[in-house]
Protein backbone atom coordinates (compact mmCIF):
# COMPACT_ATOMS: atom_id res chain seq x y z
CA UNK A 1 0.00 0.00 0.00
CA UNK A 2 1.55 3.30 -1.04
CA UNK A 3 2.45 5.37 1.97
CA UNK A 4 0.50 8.58 2.47
CA UNK A 5 2.48 11.63 3.47
CA UNK A 6 1.59 15.06 4.61
CA UNK A 7 3.15 18.42 5.06
CA UNK A 8 1.83 21.60 6.65
CA UNK A 9 2.10 23.52 3.39
CA UNK A 10 -0.34 21.20 1.72
CA UNK A 11 -3.78 22.48 0.79
CA UNK A 12 -5.88 19.35 0.83
CA UNK A 13 -8.67 19.60 -1.68
CA UNK A 14 -8.35 16.57 -3.92
CA UNK A 15 -6.63 14.56 -1.25
CA UNK A 16 -8.86 15.59 1.60
CA UNK A 17 -10.55 12.20 1.72
CA UNK A 18 -7.39 10.15 1.21
CA UNK A 19 -6.97 7.59 3.93
CA UNK A 20 -10.49 8.15 5.26
CA UNK A 21 -12.15 5.08 3.83
CA UNK A 22 -13.90 7.13 1.15
CA UNK A 23 -13.62 4.29 -1.34
CA UNK A 24 -16.76 3.12 0.46
CA UNK A 25 -19.75 4.94 -0.88
CA UNK A 26 -21.31 5.70 2.51
CA UNK A 27 -18.15 7.21 3.80
CA UNK A 28 -17.78 9.22 0.62
CA UNK A 29 -21.25 10.61 1.08
CA UNK A 30 -20.56 11.28 4.73
CA UNK A 31 -17.57 13.33 3.67
CA UNK A 32 -19.74 15.48 1.42
CA UNK A 33 -19.62 13.33 -1.66
CA UNK A 34 -22.22 13.41 -4.46
CA UNK A 35 -23.44 16.85 -3.38
CA UNK A 36 -21.77 18.61 -6.30
CA UNK A 37 -23.41 16.45 -8.91
CA UNK A 38 -26.78 17.13 -7.32
CA UNK A 39 -26.03 20.82 -7.52
CA UNK A 40 -25.12 20.49 -11.17
CA UNK A 41 -28.21 18.46 -11.96
CA UNK A 42 -30.23 21.51 -11.03
CA UNK A 43 -28.24 23.72 -13.36
CA UNK A 44 -27.79 24.14 -17.09
CA UNK A 45 -24.83 22.77 -19.03
CA UNK A 46 -23.74 26.31 -19.81
CA UNK A 47 -23.65 27.17 -16.14
CA UNK A 48 -21.49 24.15 -15.42
CA UNK A 49 -19.09 25.00 -18.22
CA UNK A 50 -18.88 28.63 -17.15
CA UNK A 51 -18.07 27.61 -13.60
CA UNK A 52 -15.38 25.33 -14.91
CA UNK A 53 -13.91 28.15 -16.95
CA UNK A 54 -14.01 30.42 -13.93
CA UNK A 55 -12.21 27.86 -11.82
CA UNK A 56 -9.14 28.17 -14.03
CA UNK A 57 -8.65 24.45 -13.75
CA UNK A 58 -6.10 23.32 -16.27
CA UNK A 59 -5.73 19.72 -17.36
CA UNK A 60 -3.61 17.62 -15.07
CA UNK A 61 -2.71 15.11 -17.78
CA UNK A 62 0.21 17.14 -18.94
CA UNK A 63 -0.73 19.73 -21.51
CA UNK A 64 -2.49 22.03 -19.05
CA UNK A 65 -5.34 23.01 -21.32
CA UNK A 66 -8.26 24.83 -19.71
CA UNK A 67 -10.83 22.20 -18.81
CA UNK A 68 -13.78 24.53 -19.10
CA UNK A 69 -12.65 25.58 -22.58
CA UNK A 70 -12.24 21.98 -23.65
CA UNK A 71 -15.75 21.16 -22.56
CA UNK A 72 -17.14 24.15 -24.40
CA UNK A 73 -15.79 22.86 -27.72
CA UNK A 74 -18.24 19.98 -27.79
CA UNK A 75 -21.06 20.74 -30.21
CA UNK A 76 -24.42 21.07 -28.49
CA UNK A 77 -26.18 19.08 -31.19
CA UNK A 78 -24.77 15.85 -32.41
CA UNK A 79 -26.18 13.01 -34.45
CA UNK A 80 -23.83 10.62 -32.72
CA UNK A 81 -23.75 9.98 -28.98
CA UNK A 82 -21.26 12.00 -26.96
CA UNK A 83 -18.86 10.53 -24.46
CA UNK A 84 -16.77 11.42 -21.45
CA UNK A 85 -13.45 9.67 -21.18
CA UNK A 86 -11.39 9.56 -18.03
CA UNK A 87 -7.73 9.08 -18.72
CA UNK A 88 -6.28 6.89 -16.00
CA UNK A 89 -3.50 5.48 -18.11
CA UNK A 90 -0.99 7.24 -15.85
CA UNK A 91 2.26 6.03 -17.37
CA UNK A 92 4.55 9.02 -17.53
CA UNK A 93 7.58 8.11 -15.43
CA UNK A 94 7.50 10.16 -12.27
CA UNK A 95 3.72 10.19 -12.04
CA UNK A 96 1.67 8.21 -9.51
CA UNK A 97 -1.06 10.56 -8.39
CA UNK A 98 -4.05 9.02 -10.18
CA UNK A 99 -2.98 5.85 -8.43
CA UNK A 100 -3.87 7.43 -5.09
CA UNK A 101 -7.11 8.91 -6.35
CA UNK A 102 -8.36 5.54 -7.57
CA UNK A 103 -7.19 3.94 -4.37
CA UNK A 104 -8.62 6.38 -1.87
CA UNK A 105 -11.31 8.36 -3.61
CA UNK A 106 -12.76 6.54 -6.63
CA UNK A 107 -16.17 8.15 -6.16
CA UNK A 108 -14.73 11.56 -6.83
CA UNK A 109 -13.82 10.32 -10.29
CA UNK A 110 -17.31 8.92 -10.79
CA UNK A 111 -18.92 12.13 -9.58
CA UNK A 112 -16.67 14.24 -11.78
CA UNK A 113 -17.47 12.08 -14.76
CA UNK A 114 -21.19 12.52 -14.28
CA UNK A 115 -20.78 16.28 -14.02
CA UNK A 116 -18.72 16.32 -17.20
CA UNK A 117 -21.45 14.31 -18.86
CA UNK A 118 -24.07 16.81 -17.77
CA UNK A 119 -21.95 19.64 -19.10
CA UNK A 120 -21.57 18.28 -22.58
CA UNK A 121 -24.74 16.23 -22.87
CA UNK A 122 -23.16 12.79 -22.74
CA UNK A 123 -24.90 9.79 -21.32
CA UNK A 124 -21.98 7.44 -21.19
CA UNK A 125 -18.59 7.78 -19.58
CA UNK A 126 -15.55 5.53 -19.61
CA UNK A 127 -12.90 5.26 -16.96
CA UNK A 128 -9.76 3.82 -18.52
CA UNK A 129 -7.07 2.52 -16.17
CA UNK A 130 -3.68 1.31 -17.22
CA UNK A 131 -3.49 -2.49 -17.20
CA UNK A 132 -0.99 -2.60 -14.37
CA UNK A 133 -3.57 -0.97 -12.06
CA UNK A 134 -5.62 -4.12 -11.71
CA UNK A 135 -6.13 -3.75 -7.97
CA UNK A 136 -7.25 -0.19 -8.51
CA UNK A 137 -9.60 -1.29 -11.28
CA UNK A 138 -11.30 -3.59 -8.78
CA UNK A 139 -11.75 -0.68 -6.40
CA UNK A 140 -13.16 1.53 -9.14
CA UNK A 141 -15.41 -1.25 -10.40
CA UNK A 142 -16.77 -1.72 -6.91
CA UNK A 143 -17.36 2.00 -6.56
CA UNK A 144 -19.19 2.09 -9.89
CA UNK A 145 -21.33 -0.86 -8.88
CA UNK A 146 -22.19 0.85 -5.60
CA UNK A 147 -23.10 4.03 -7.41
CA UNK A 148 -25.41 2.05 -9.70
CA UNK A 149 -26.98 0.44 -6.69
CA UNK A 150 -27.72 3.83 -5.14
CA UNK A 151 -29.23 5.10 -8.36
CA UNK A 152 -26.38 7.54 -8.88
CA UNK A 153 -25.68 5.88 -12.18
CA UNK A 154 -28.02 4.30 -14.68
CA UNK A 155 -31.48 5.48 -15.63
CA UNK A 156 -32.85 8.56 -13.90
CA UNK A 157 -29.86 9.29 -11.73
CA UNK A 158 -30.52 10.84 -8.34
CA UNK A 159 -34.22 10.59 -9.04
CA UNK A 160 -34.03 13.01 -11.97
CA UNK A 161 -34.82 12.44 -15.63
CA UNK A 162 -31.12 12.24 -16.47
CA UNK A 163 -29.44 8.99 -17.46
CA UNK A 164 -25.79 8.30 -17.10
CA UNK A 165 -23.72 5.17 -17.40
CA UNK A 166 -20.09 4.44 -16.69
CA UNK A 167 -18.00 1.66 -18.13
CA UNK A 168 -14.60 0.84 -16.69
CA UNK A 169 -11.85 -0.33 -18.96
CA UNK A 170 -8.40 -1.78 -18.53
CA UNK A 171 -5.40 -1.16 -20.71
CA UNK A 172 -2.69 -3.75 -21.22
CA UNK A 173 0.61 -1.96 -21.03
CA UNK A 174 1.24 0.98 -23.31
CA UNK A 175 2.32 4.50 -22.40
CA UNK A 176 1.25 5.85 -25.76
CA UNK A 177 -2.32 4.90 -25.03
CA UNK A 178 -2.31 7.82 -22.59
CA UNK A 179 -2.37 10.12 -25.62
CA UNK A 180 -6.00 11.05 -26.04
CA UNK A 181 -6.72 9.73 -29.51
CA UNK A 182 -4.60 6.62 -29.00
CA UNK A 183 -6.66 5.96 -25.91
CA UNK A 184 -9.80 6.08 -28.02
CA UNK A 185 -8.29 3.61 -30.43
CA UNK A 186 -7.39 1.35 -27.54
CA UNK A 187 -10.87 1.65 -26.13
CA UNK A 188 -12.19 0.60 -29.51
CA UNK A 189 -10.09 -2.54 -29.29
CA UNK A 190 -7.26 -1.45 -31.54
CA UNK A 191 -3.56 -0.76 -31.45
CA UNK A 192 -2.81 2.43 -29.57
CA UNK A 193 -1.96 4.53 -32.59
CA UNK A 194 -2.97 8.17 -32.36
CA UNK A 195 -5.45 9.57 -34.84
CA UNK A 196 -4.96 12.24 -37.44
CA UNK A 197 -6.10 15.62 -36.12
CA UNK A 198 -8.22 17.45 -37.08
CA UNK A 199 -10.88 16.35 -36.43
CA UNK A 200 -10.36 16.82 -32.71
CA UNK A 201 -11.99 14.50 -30.18
CA UNK A 202 -14.43 17.17 -29.06
CA UNK A 203 -15.95 16.89 -32.53
CA UNK A 204 -15.10 13.36 -33.66
CA UNK A 205 -13.88 11.17 -30.84
CA UNK A 206 -14.72 7.79 -29.43
CA UNK A 207 -16.85 5.73 -31.85
CA UNK A 208 -16.94 8.84 -33.99
CA UNK A 209 -18.95 10.79 -31.44
CA UNK A 210 -17.99 14.09 -29.77
CA UNK A 211 -15.84 13.21 -26.78
CA UNK A 212 -14.09 14.97 -23.99
CA UNK A 213 -11.14 13.29 -22.47
CA UNK A 214 -9.65 14.39 -19.18
CA UNK A 215 -7.05 13.15 -16.83
CA UNK A 216 -8.34 11.33 -13.75
CA UNK A 217 -7.04 14.04 -11.44
CA UNK A 218 -8.71 16.72 -13.53
CA UNK A 219 -12.00 14.86 -13.28
CA UNK A 220 -11.59 14.14 -9.57
CA UNK A 221 -11.09 17.86 -9.03
CA UNK A 222 -14.40 18.77 -10.63
CA UNK A 223 -16.69 17.89 -7.69
CA UNK A 224 -14.46 19.88 -5.35
CA UNK A 225 -14.76 22.93 -7.57
CA UNK A 226 -18.53 22.81 -7.30
CA UNK A 227 -18.32 22.09 -3.60
CA UNK A 228 -16.16 25.07 -2.77
CA UNK A 229 -17.18 27.34 -5.61
CA UNK A 230 -15.19 28.19 -8.72
CA UNK A 231 -13.98 31.51 -7.34
CA UNK A 232 -12.67 30.02 -4.14
CA UNK A 233 -10.99 27.20 -6.03
CA UNK A 234 -9.34 29.53 -8.48
CA UNK A 235 -8.14 31.77 -5.65
CA UNK A 236 -5.99 28.96 -4.29
CA UNK A 237 -3.63 29.01 -7.25
CA UNK A 238 -1.89 31.62 -9.33
CA UNK A 239 -3.42 33.63 -12.18
CA UNK A 240 -4.77 31.32 -14.93
CA UNK A 241 -3.61 28.35 -12.86
CA UNK A 242 -6.45 27.58 -10.53
CA UNK A 243 -6.33 25.38 -7.46
CA UNK A 244 -3.93 22.79 -6.27
CA UNK A 245 -2.38 19.77 -7.84
CA UNK A 246 -0.94 16.51 -6.67
CA UNK A 247 2.82 16.74 -7.01
CA UNK A 248 4.57 13.39 -7.09
CA UNK A 249 7.89 13.98 -5.45
CA UNK A 250 10.36 11.24 -6.22
CA UNK A 251 14.04 10.49 -6.56
CA UNK A 252 16.69 11.67 -4.19
CA UNK A 253 14.61 13.52 -1.64
CA UNK A 254 14.39 12.52 1.97
CA UNK A 255 10.61 12.29 1.98
CA UNK A 256 9.28 11.31 -1.41
CA UNK A 257 5.54 11.15 -1.72
CA UNK A 258 2.49 12.69 -3.31
CA UNK A 259 1.80 16.15 -1.90
CA UNK A 260 -1.11 18.39 -2.72
CA UNK A 261 0.22 21.90 -3.07
CA UNK A 262 -1.23 25.07 -4.50
CA UNK A 263 -0.40 25.84 -8.09
CA UNK A 264 2.62 28.09 -8.20
CA UNK A 265 4.27 26.58 -5.13
CA UNK A 266 8.00 27.20 -5.16
CA UNK A 267 9.93 24.25 -6.50
CA UNK A 268 12.98 24.76 -4.34
CA UNK A 269 10.77 24.81 -1.30
CA UNK A 270 9.02 21.71 -2.52
CA UNK A 271 12.31 19.88 -2.68
CA UNK A 272 13.93 21.18 0.44
CA UNK A 273 11.03 21.72 2.80
CA UNK A 274 8.21 19.50 1.68
CA UNK A 275 10.53 16.75 0.47
CA UNK A 276 12.96 17.19 3.31
CA UNK A 277 15.93 18.02 1.11
CA UNK A 278 18.33 15.82 -0.78
CA UNK A 279 18.81 12.35 0.57
CA UNK A 280 21.88 11.83 2.71
CA UNK A 281 22.72 15.49 2.71
CA UNK A 282 23.95 15.44 -0.84
CA UNK A 283 23.68 18.27 -3.30
CA UNK A 284 20.98 18.84 -5.86
CA UNK A 285 22.21 18.27 -9.38
CA UNK A 286 19.07 18.60 -11.43
CA UNK A 287 15.33 18.24 -11.29
CA UNK A 288 12.86 16.98 -13.84
CA UNK A 289 9.84 19.10 -13.00
CA UNK A 290 6.85 17.45 -14.64
CA UNK A 291 7.42 13.82 -15.55
CA UNK A 292 10.14 12.28 -17.66
CA UNK A 293 9.18 14.11 -20.83
CA UNK A 294 9.88 17.54 -19.44
CA UNK A 295 13.30 19.18 -19.93
CA UNK A 296 15.56 18.97 -16.92
CA UNK A 297 16.19 22.07 -14.81
CA UNK A 298 19.43 23.04 -13.07
CA UNK A 299 19.52 24.13 -9.42
CA UNK A 300 20.03 27.72 -10.46
CA UNK A 301 16.93 27.57 -12.64
CA UNK A 302 14.61 26.67 -9.77
CA UNK A 303 15.56 29.35 -7.28
CA UNK A 304 12.38 31.32 -7.73
CA UNK A 305 10.38 28.93 -9.78
CA UNK A 306 6.68 28.75 -9.00
CA UNK A 307 5.19 25.46 -10.07
CA UNK A 308 2.46 26.48 -12.45
CA UNK A 309 2.12 25.89 -16.16
CA UNK A 310 3.16 29.40 -17.18
CA UNK A 311 6.17 29.84 -14.94
CA UNK A 312 7.66 26.44 -15.65
CA UNK A 313 7.03 27.04 -19.33
CA UNK A 314 8.89 30.30 -19.13
CA UNK A 315 11.78 28.51 -17.47
CA UNK A 316 12.09 26.36 -20.58
CA UNK A 317 10.42 23.28 -19.26
CA UNK A 318 6.88 22.11 -18.56
CA UNK A 319 4.72 21.44 -15.57
CA UNK A 320 3.54 18.28 -17.31
CA UNK A 321 1.95 15.59 -15.23
CA UNK A 322 3.24 16.75 -11.86
CA UNK A 323 6.05 14.25 -11.45
CA UNK A 324 8.96 16.02 -9.79
CA UNK A 325 12.05 13.85 -10.08
CA UNK A 326 14.94 15.01 -7.97
CA UNK A 327 18.47 14.06 -8.98
CA UNK A 328 21.45 14.33 -6.67
CA UNK A 329 25.07 15.07 -7.49
CA UNK A 330 26.10 11.41 -7.39
CA UNK A 331 23.98 10.60 -10.42
CA UNK A 332 25.25 10.15 -13.93
CA UNK A 333 23.20 12.31 -16.26
CA UNK A 334 24.19 10.27 -19.29
CA UNK A 335 22.81 7.19 -17.61
CA UNK A 336 19.71 9.10 -16.63
CA UNK A 337 19.28 10.31 -20.20
CA UNK A 338 19.78 6.79 -21.47
CA UNK A 339 17.16 5.40 -19.13
CA UNK A 340 14.78 8.13 -20.16
CA UNK A 341 15.25 7.55 -23.89
CA UNK A 342 15.06 3.78 -23.40
CA UNK A 343 11.61 4.29 -22.05
CA UNK A 344 10.50 6.28 -25.07
CA UNK A 345 12.11 3.83 -27.43
CA UNK A 346 10.17 1.07 -25.72
CA UNK A 347 6.94 3.00 -25.79
CA UNK A 348 7.06 4.60 -29.23
CA UNK A 349 4.09 3.24 -31.07
CA UNK A 350 6.20 3.10 -34.20
CA UNK A 351 3.71 4.82 -36.42
CA UNK A 352 5.88 7.68 -37.59
CA UNK A 353 9.42 7.68 -38.83
CA UNK A 354 11.00 10.39 -36.67
CA UNK A 355 9.85 8.93 -33.38
CA UNK A 356 10.26 5.26 -34.24
CA UNK A 357 13.69 5.64 -35.77
CA UNK A 358 14.78 8.60 -33.68
CA UNK A 359 14.18 6.97 -30.31
CA UNK A 360 15.83 3.75 -31.48
CA UNK A 361 18.85 5.60 -32.75
CA UNK A 362 19.14 7.80 -29.66
CA UNK A 363 18.93 4.81 -27.38
CA UNK A 364 21.63 2.97 -29.27
CA UNK A 365 23.88 6.02 -29.34
CA UNK A 366 23.45 6.78 -25.66
CA UNK A 367 23.95 3.18 -24.70
CA UNK A 368 27.18 2.98 -26.62
CA UNK A 369 28.19 6.36 -25.34
CA UNK A 370 27.57 5.49 -21.74
CA UNK A 371 29.43 2.22 -22.16
CA UNK A 372 32.53 4.24 -22.96
CA UNK A 373 32.55 3.93 -26.72
CA UNK A 374 31.51 7.46 -27.49
CA UNK A 375 33.23 9.92 -29.77
CA UNK A 376 33.18 13.68 -29.67
CA UNK A 377 30.88 13.92 -32.67
CA UNK A 378 28.31 11.73 -30.91
CA UNK A 379 27.42 14.54 -28.57
CA UNK A 380 26.41 16.83 -31.40
CA UNK A 381 24.80 14.01 -33.29
CA UNK A 382 22.60 13.15 -30.34
CA UNK A 383 21.51 16.71 -30.05
CA UNK A 384 21.04 17.01 -33.82
CA UNK A 385 18.86 13.93 -33.83
CA UNK A 386 16.76 15.07 -30.92
CA UNK A 387 16.29 18.50 -32.45
CA UNK A 388 15.28 16.97 -35.76
CA UNK A 389 12.58 14.90 -34.15
CA UNK A 390 11.16 17.89 -32.33
CA UNK A 391 7.90 19.17 -33.68
CA UNK A 392 7.89 16.80 -36.61
CA UNK A 393 6.38 13.66 -35.15
CA UNK A 394 2.82 12.51 -35.55
CA UNK A 395 2.03 12.86 -31.86
CA UNK A 396 3.72 14.47 -28.87
CA UNK A 397 5.52 11.29 -27.78
CA UNK A 398 8.29 12.09 -30.19
CA UNK A 399 8.66 15.50 -28.59
CA UNK A 400 8.48 13.91 -25.18
CA UNK A 401 11.56 11.90 -26.11
CA UNK A 402 13.40 14.64 -27.91
CA UNK A 403 12.92 17.53 -25.51
CA UNK A 404 14.54 16.02 -22.44
CA UNK A 405 17.35 14.53 -24.53
CA UNK A 406 18.16 17.86 -26.10
CA UNK A 407 18.10 19.46 -22.65
CA UNK A 408 20.41 16.86 -21.11
CA UNK A 409 23.00 17.39 -23.82
CA UNK A 410 22.69 21.12 -23.72
CA UNK A 411 22.81 21.51 -19.97
CA UNK A 412 25.27 18.73 -19.16
CA UNK A 413 27.61 18.81 -22.08
CA UNK A 414 30.61 18.66 -19.79
CA UNK A 415 29.35 15.44 -18.30
CA UNK A 416 28.93 13.92 -21.72
CA UNK A 417 32.48 14.93 -22.56
CA UNK A 418 33.69 13.25 -19.38
CA UNK A 419 32.53 9.97 -20.84
CA UNK A 420 34.65 10.29 -23.95
CA UNK A 421 37.74 8.42 -25.03
CA UNK A 422 36.95 5.19 -23.26
CA UNK A 423 36.80 6.83 -19.87
CA UNK A 424 34.63 4.86 -17.50
CA UNK A 425 31.44 6.49 -16.36
CA UNK A 426 32.61 8.91 -13.66
CA UNK A 427 29.71 7.83 -11.48
CA UNK A 428 30.11 4.09 -11.88
CA UNK A 429 29.53 2.54 -8.51
CA UNK A 430 31.44 -0.37 -7.17
CA UNK A 431 29.53 -3.57 -7.71
CA UNK A 432 26.78 -1.99 -9.73
CA UNK A 433 26.79 -3.44 -13.19
CA UNK A 434 26.02 -1.62 -16.40
CA UNK A 435 22.37 -1.11 -16.68
CA UNK A 436 20.62 -3.70 -18.78
CA UNK A 437 17.79 -1.53 -20.05
CA UNK A 438 14.64 -3.22 -21.24
Amino acid sequence: MPRLVSHPDEVKIISRRFGQGAEKIDRYIELGGYESVKKCLAQTPDWIINEMKASNLRGRGGAGFSTGMKWSFVPKQSAKPKYVLVNGDESEPGTCKDHLIFLHDPHSVIEGTIIAGLAIGAKLGFIYLRGEYRYLLRIVEKAVADAYERGFLGKGIFGTQADFDIITQTGAGAYEVGEESALMESLEGKRGIPRIKPPFPAVVGLYGGPTIINNAETIATVPHIFAMGAEAYSAVGTPRNGGTRLFCLSGHVERPGVYELPMGYNLKKMIYEVGGGIRGGRKLKAVVPGGSSTPVLLPEEIENLGMDFDQVGKAGSMLGSGGVVVIDDQTCIVEFALRTISFYQHESCGWCIPCREGTDWLKKSLKRFHAGFGTASDIDNIRYLAENMLGRTFCPLGDAAAMPTAAFVKKFRKEFEDHLDGKPCPYAKEGVPQLTVV
Binding site: A172, G189, G192, V438
Partner: protein
Protein backbone atom coordinates in the same frame (compact mmCIF):
# COMPACT_ATOMS: atom_id res chain seq x y z
CA UNK B 1 -11.41 -18.31 -52.52
CA UNK B 2 -9.27 -16.67 -49.92
CA UNK B 3 -11.54 -15.77 -47.04
CA UNK B 4 -11.88 -18.80 -44.91
CA UNK B 5 -15.27 -20.26 -44.52
CA UNK B 6 -16.83 -19.54 -41.21
CA UNK B 7 -16.47 -22.67 -39.23
CA UNK B 8 -18.81 -24.24 -36.76
CA UNK B 9 -18.52 -22.63 -33.36
CA UNK B 10 -16.02 -24.74 -31.47
CA UNK B 11 -16.27 -25.21 -27.75
CA UNK B 12 -14.50 -22.49 -25.88
CA UNK B 13 -11.18 -23.14 -24.25
CA UNK B 14 -12.00 -20.95 -21.27
CA UNK B 15 -13.44 -21.88 -17.93
CA UNK B 16 -17.20 -21.55 -17.59
CA UNK B 17 -16.73 -18.51 -15.36
CA UNK B 18 -14.45 -16.71 -17.76
CA UNK B 19 -16.57 -17.73 -20.69
CA UNK B 20 -19.64 -16.26 -19.02
CA UNK B 21 -17.69 -13.12 -18.21
CA UNK B 22 -16.71 -12.81 -21.87
CA UNK B 23 -20.27 -13.30 -22.99
CA UNK B 24 -21.20 -10.34 -20.85
CA UNK B 25 -18.17 -8.32 -21.86
CA UNK B 26 -18.92 -8.39 -25.58
CA UNK B 27 -22.38 -7.03 -24.83
CA UNK B 28 -21.18 -4.28 -22.57
CA UNK B 29 -19.82 -1.74 -25.03
CA UNK B 30 -21.40 0.25 -27.83
CA UNK B 31 -19.07 -1.73 -30.11
CA UNK B 32 -18.17 -5.37 -29.55
CA UNK B 33 -14.52 -4.93 -30.38
CA UNK B 34 -14.03 -2.69 -27.34
CA UNK B 35 -13.99 -5.88 -25.31
CA UNK B 36 -10.87 -7.11 -27.07
CA UNK B 37 -8.11 -5.82 -24.82
CA UNK B 38 -9.74 -6.72 -21.50
CA UNK B 39 -10.59 -10.14 -22.89
CA UNK B 40 -7.02 -10.77 -23.91
CA UNK B 41 -5.73 -9.73 -20.53
CA UNK B 42 -8.26 -11.83 -18.64
CA UNK B 43 -7.65 -14.78 -20.93
CA UNK B 44 -3.95 -14.46 -20.26
CA UNK B 45 -4.62 -14.35 -16.54
CA UNK B 46 -6.37 -17.68 -16.83
CA UNK B 47 -4.32 -19.48 -19.47
CA UNK B 48 -0.97 -17.92 -18.69
CA UNK B 49 -0.30 -16.50 -22.13
CA UNK B 50 -1.96 -15.89 -25.45
CA UNK B 51 -1.74 -19.30 -27.03
CA UNK B 52 -2.93 -19.86 -30.58
CA UNK B 53 -6.10 -21.30 -29.12
CA UNK B 54 -6.70 -18.18 -27.04
CA UNK B 55 -6.17 -15.96 -30.07
CA UNK B 56 -8.57 -18.05 -32.13
CA UNK B 57 -11.22 -18.16 -29.43
CA UNK B 58 -11.10 -14.44 -28.77
CA UNK B 59 -11.12 -13.66 -32.51
CA UNK B 60 -14.22 -15.76 -32.92
CA UNK B 61 -15.99 -14.17 -29.99
CA UNK B 62 -15.38 -10.68 -31.27
CA UNK B 63 -15.81 -11.53 -34.92
CA UNK B 64 -12.44 -10.30 -36.16
CA UNK B 65 -9.53 -12.11 -37.75
CA UNK B 66 -6.75 -13.76 -35.81
CA UNK B 67 -4.38 -11.40 -37.57
CA UNK B 68 -6.31 -8.49 -36.07
CA UNK B 69 -6.05 -10.04 -32.64
CA UNK B 70 -2.32 -10.63 -32.96
CA UNK B 71 -1.78 -7.22 -34.36
CA UNK B 72 -3.49 -5.63 -31.36
CA UNK B 73 -2.12 -8.00 -28.74
CA UNK B 74 1.48 -7.61 -29.86
CA UNK B 75 1.17 -3.88 -29.36
CA UNK B 76 0.58 -4.10 -25.62
CA UNK B 77 3.54 -4.95 -23.46
CA UNK B 78 1.60 -6.81 -20.77
CA UNK B 79 0.30 -9.32 -23.28
CA UNK B 80 2.58 -12.19 -24.13
CA UNK B 81 2.60 -15.04 -26.59
CA UNK B 82 4.78 -17.25 -24.42
CA UNK B 83 4.17 -18.58 -20.93
CA UNK B 84 5.59 -16.77 -17.91
CA UNK B 85 6.17 -18.09 -14.42
CA UNK B 86 3.27 -18.56 -12.03
CA UNK B 87 4.50 -15.39 -10.38
CA UNK B 88 5.77 -12.88 -12.87
CA UNK B 89 8.09 -10.48 -11.10
CA UNK B 90 8.18 -7.12 -12.80
CA UNK B 91 10.90 -4.84 -11.53
CA UNK B 92 10.63 -1.20 -12.48
CA UNK B 93 13.97 0.29 -13.40
CA UNK B 94 12.63 3.51 -14.82
CA UNK B 95 14.09 6.79 -13.65
CA UNK B 96 12.55 7.20 -10.22
CA UNK B 97 13.14 3.60 -9.31
CA UNK B 98 16.60 3.69 -10.85
CA UNK B 99 17.49 6.67 -8.68
CA UNK B 100 16.49 4.71 -5.64
CA UNK B 101 18.09 1.38 -6.47
CA UNK B 102 15.83 -0.28 -9.03
CA UNK B 103 18.77 -1.89 -10.78
CA UNK B 104 20.24 -3.21 -7.55
CA UNK B 105 16.85 -4.69 -6.85
CA UNK B 106 16.62 -6.21 -10.27
CA UNK B 107 20.11 -7.70 -9.91
CA UNK B 108 19.19 -9.22 -6.61
CA UNK B 109 16.21 -10.92 -8.18
CA UNK B 110 18.43 -12.18 -10.99
CA UNK B 111 20.81 -13.66 -8.48
CA UNK B 112 18.15 -15.17 -6.25
CA UNK B 113 16.22 -16.67 -9.14
CA UNK B 114 19.11 -17.42 -11.43
CA UNK B 115 17.29 -16.04 -14.44
CA UNK B 116 17.66 -13.02 -16.68
CA UNK B 117 15.15 -10.55 -18.10
CA UNK B 118 12.14 -12.53 -19.38
CA UNK B 119 13.56 -15.73 -17.92
CA UNK B 120 11.53 -18.39 -16.11
CA UNK B 121 12.79 -20.48 -13.21
CA UNK B 122 13.04 -24.19 -14.00
CA UNK B 123 10.16 -24.99 -11.63
CA UNK B 124 8.00 -22.51 -13.52
CA UNK B 125 7.21 -20.68 -10.29
CA UNK B 126 8.81 -17.37 -11.12
CA UNK B 127 9.63 -15.31 -14.12
CA UNK B 128 11.52 -12.06 -14.08
CA UNK B 129 11.03 -8.97 -16.12
CA UNK B 130 12.51 -5.51 -16.16
CA UNK B 131 9.62 -3.16 -16.77
CA UNK B 132 8.88 0.50 -17.34
CA UNK B 133 7.33 2.80 -14.78
CA UNK B 134 4.44 1.15 -12.97
CA UNK B 135 3.04 4.27 -11.35
CA UNK B 136 4.65 3.96 -7.96
CA UNK B 137 7.39 6.52 -8.47
CA UNK B 138 7.03 8.26 -5.13
CA UNK B 139 7.36 4.90 -3.41
CA UNK B 140 10.34 3.71 -5.38
CA UNK B 141 11.80 1.31 -5.98
CA UNK B 142 8.74 -0.73 -6.73
CA UNK B 143 7.85 -4.01 -8.30
CA UNK B 144 4.77 -5.89 -9.28
CA UNK B 145 4.30 -9.59 -8.80
CA UNK B 146 1.53 -10.39 -11.20
CA UNK B 147 -0.81 -7.56 -10.18
CA UNK B 148 0.44 -7.06 -6.60
CA UNK B 149 2.49 -3.98 -5.86
CA UNK B 150 5.46 -4.02 -3.50
CA UNK B 151 7.04 -0.66 -2.95
CA UNK B 152 9.81 1.13 -1.07
CA UNK B 153 11.91 -1.96 -1.43
CA UNK B 154 15.54 -2.66 -0.96
CA UNK B 155 17.47 -5.69 -2.21
CA UNK B 156 17.51 -7.33 1.20
CA UNK B 157 13.77 -7.74 1.08
CA UNK B 158 13.98 -9.87 -2.05
CA UNK B 159 14.37 -13.27 -0.33
CA UNK B 160 11.42 -12.57 1.93
CA UNK B 161 9.19 -11.62 -1.00
CA UNK B 162 10.15 -14.75 -2.87
CA UNK B 163 9.51 -16.88 0.19
CA UNK B 164 6.08 -15.46 0.69
CA UNK B 165 5.13 -16.44 -2.85
CA UNK B 166 6.69 -19.84 -2.45
CA UNK B 167 4.58 -20.51 0.60
CA UNK B 168 1.53 -19.11 -1.15
CA UNK B 169 2.11 -21.57 -3.98
CA UNK B 170 2.60 -24.35 -1.51
CA UNK B 171 -0.58 -23.52 0.34
CA UNK B 172 -2.48 -23.48 -2.91
CA UNK B 173 -0.98 -26.81 -3.89
CA UNK B 174 -2.07 -28.30 -0.59
CA UNK B 175 -5.53 -26.83 -0.88
CA UNK B 176 -5.88 -28.47 -4.26
CA UNK B 177 -4.59 -31.81 -3.04
Amino acid sequence: MSPKNMKEEPLTIFSPQLSARFDALVQKYPVKRSALIPMLLYAQDEVGYLSDAVVADVARRIGITELDVRSVASYYSMLRFKPAGKYNIQVCTNICCMLRGGYELFDRFREELGVEHKGITPDGLFSLEEVECIGACSWAPAIQVNYDFHDELDPDRVPGILDSYRSQAKAEGEAHA
